[in-house]
């Protein structure tokens, strides 16, 4: 086939298209760029310059203050301790909810029993309810269990309301596995867990990556559960960031605010840059199939 010659008109249209897409990209990048610039300026430069003016000298004072010296409500140790809290919450919550989700998904796709579809539907409701409706009872329950304001309590809450999503991911993935694989293993006398470990898990790498990324992003970015169920010492980084920004003694230090916001965003941004493909797949899988 001969490539049709492009007319001048078509070529102009093509340029216009690229300009439009480029401008849109700049608009999306602008907030991040401004945050970065602001975090590298000192207060004087911020007051005298514009959002887009470049810092005279690049200094990381705001970053180090945000990390270890800024006031976040009751303490003035920066957001470092809360950054660590977020990891202490995220890691166990992600691992456990992924493990439970994979087992649930395995049962709900390859070991269906009478009523299992209804149970699956009932579980999915957990993806959709506005969490406001469970906050008050959950707070009472955590208090009764002695877990109010603890990291353990927050981990449990995140597992509880994350399982619906992780189950959905794994179930939809396992439904697509060839049935013969499993029936052959069963004919050979292999049991439930043996098949899971030896046959199903080795095939699960892509969905595990999707699920871990999804859960990591969700839990790291959570604010509602953090603000309701954590104490002054156990806050996740999102809550600490919000306190830092809204703590107002003396002059506002926007450079410190922006540095703290960037620090809080860094882990999920990093995951996105490194594994964007899986991130998008999780979003669309969770969204379209849900």
């Amino acid at each position: 086939m001969v490539k049709p010659q492009k007319t001048l008109n078509q070529q102009l249209l093509r340029y216009g298209l690229y300009v439009l897409l480029g401008v849109a990209a700049l608009v999306y990048l602008l907030p991040l760029w401004v945050m970065l610039l602001t975090s590298l300026k000192d207060v004087e430069e911020i007051r005298n310059g514009t959002l887009l003016s470049l810092p005279g000298t690049i200094n990381f004072d705001a970053w180090s203050k945000a990390w270890s010296g800024a006031c976040t409500g009751s303490t003035c140790d920066g957001i470092a301790p809360f950054f660590a809290n977020s990891f202490r919450i995220v890691i166990p919550a992600v691992l456990i909810s992924t493990l439970v989700g994979s087992l649930n998904g395995y049962v709900l796709s390859l070991w269906k029993f009478r009523g299992s579809e209804i149970l699956f539907g009932a579980m999915l409701v957990g993806c959709f309810i506005p969490f406001q409706v469970i906050l008050l009872p959950m707070a009472r329950m955590l208090a009764m269990l002695g877990l109010a304001n603890t990291v353990t309590g927050l981990v449990l809450v995140h597992i509880t309301y994350g399982i619906a999503f992780t189950t959905l991911f794994f179930r939809n993935f396992y439904v697509g596995l060839p049935k013969e694989l499993i029936s052959a293993a069963r004919l050979d006398g292999a049991g439930f867990f043996f098949i899971f470990r030896r046959v199903v898990l080795p095939l699960s790498t892509p969905i595990i990556v999707v699920c871990v990324i999804w859960q990591f992003t969700q839990i790291w970015n959570d604010f509602l559960f953090g603000v309701v169920f954590s104490g002054a010492q156990t806050q996740p980084v999102t809550v600490a960031l919000n306190n830092l920004v809204n703590t107002s003694f003396g002059g506002k230090e926007y450079n410190v605010d922006m540095a703290a916001a960037l620090i809080a965003a860094l882990p999920t941004l990093l995951v996105y840059v490194l594994a964007g493909k899986y991130f998008v797949r999780g979003l669309t899988a969770g969204a379209v199939k849900g």
Binding site: M138, G191, Y254
Partner: protein, 311 residues
């Protein structure tokens, strides 16, 4: 679909008389594995919903009390000016947020679907805000929109002395600031949904239409966009879900202010239930939110299930 996925192999016409305990355990294993999740869901989703529902009929304040007062909390809620403002805000915010996200999402997806060089990089740029917490988004936009040092000052310094952009501190306009920040965060995601949908459109049909002499805009209007109806539908459900649950963004960007002019129901619920000692009223507002979500979700799920049965 409802049958067992994997019927156990028949070992003959006669069933074994007695199963050993181990065999019986093995047969129940799938149910046992699922049991903890089922119990947790029953308690922490359904049980808590009922619990909150009951609380909403009591006079609970700082601590729950089980003195039932009928629907008094709901009438109090309906008369509450602040609740009225938050619901009105949700309608404005949610409506605009959904509309703008859908329009931008479709447009960007169509533009990106023209065999663009560097499509991957552009997609990455449009979508990255979705990886960020709403708290970070709120913090960033609070800085950008702040009239003293943000966009307003920047554009004035560029020579447009009379440029005014003070929505963040203007009670009548502050809710639109929420829309701007939320659209920035979520429109890339809608774009990704539509792009995936566009890639799934039957190329043969488009080729056939082209051979018949249909123009590209015509093909988009008559063939491609109608076939994306399910994507519109699920994007709508997801976006309305985000809108109703919006809490973090308001907390970080406006704190509900000035005054309570940018309150949303989620903020109202949190403040009354947890900081103002109005547990009963907070519970009632949570139940109304649940009602709102169900009103959108039930028709969606119903149509999903029906289309699956037909398909």
């Amino acid at each position: 679909m409802n049958e067992k996925a994997l019927p156990l192999p028949e070992t003959g016409s006669v069933r074994p008389v007695a199963l050993s305990f181990q065999d019986r355990l093995a047969a129940q294993l799938p149910k046992l594995v699922l049991a903890p999740t089922v119990i947790v869901t029953l308690v922490a989703v359904y049980g808590y919903m009922i619990w909150t529902g009951l609380l909403s009929f009591t006079s609970s304040r700082i601590l729950p009390s089980w003195k039932f007062i009928g629907t008094a909390q709901y009438s109090k809620l309906m008369e509450n000016d602040r609740w009225g403002v938050s619901v009105e805000n949700l309608i404005i915010f949610g409506g605009l947020f959904i509309l703008v996200c859908l329009v931008l999402g479709v447009l960007m997806a169509i533009l990106l679907d023209q065999k663009i060089r560097a499509e991957g990089a552009l997609r990455t740029i449009y979508l990255y805000p979705m990886a960020i917490s709403f708290i970070v988004t709120g913090t960033a936009w609070k800085w950008l929109l702040n009239p003293g040092l943000g966009l307003q000052k920047t554009i004035r310094d560029w020579g447009f002395e009379s440029f005014t952009f003070d929505w963040l501190v203007n009670p009548d306009m502050v809710v639109y600031c929420l829309v701007i920040a939320a659209v920035w965060q979520s429109s890339g995601f809608v774009m990704a949904l539509f792009l995936a949908g566009l890639r799934g459109v039957d190329q043969e049909m488009i080729k056939a239409a082209q051979l018949d002499g249909a123009s590209m805009p015509m093909i988009y209007r008559r063939i491609i966009l109608p076939s994306l109806k399910p994507v519109f539908f699920s994007a709508f459900v997801i976006l309305s879900h985000i809108a109703i649950k919006s809490f973090d963004l308001v907390a970080a960007l406006t704190g509900g202010g000035p005054g309570y002019s940018s309150d949303l129901p989620a903020i109202f619920m949190y403040q009354h239930a947890f900081t103002r000692g109005q547990m009963g009223l907070g519970a009632a507002s949570a139940m109304v939110m649940l009602g709102g979500v169900l009103a959108i979700l039930v028709p969606y799920l119903y149509s999903e299930l029906r289309s699956k049965k037909n398909g």
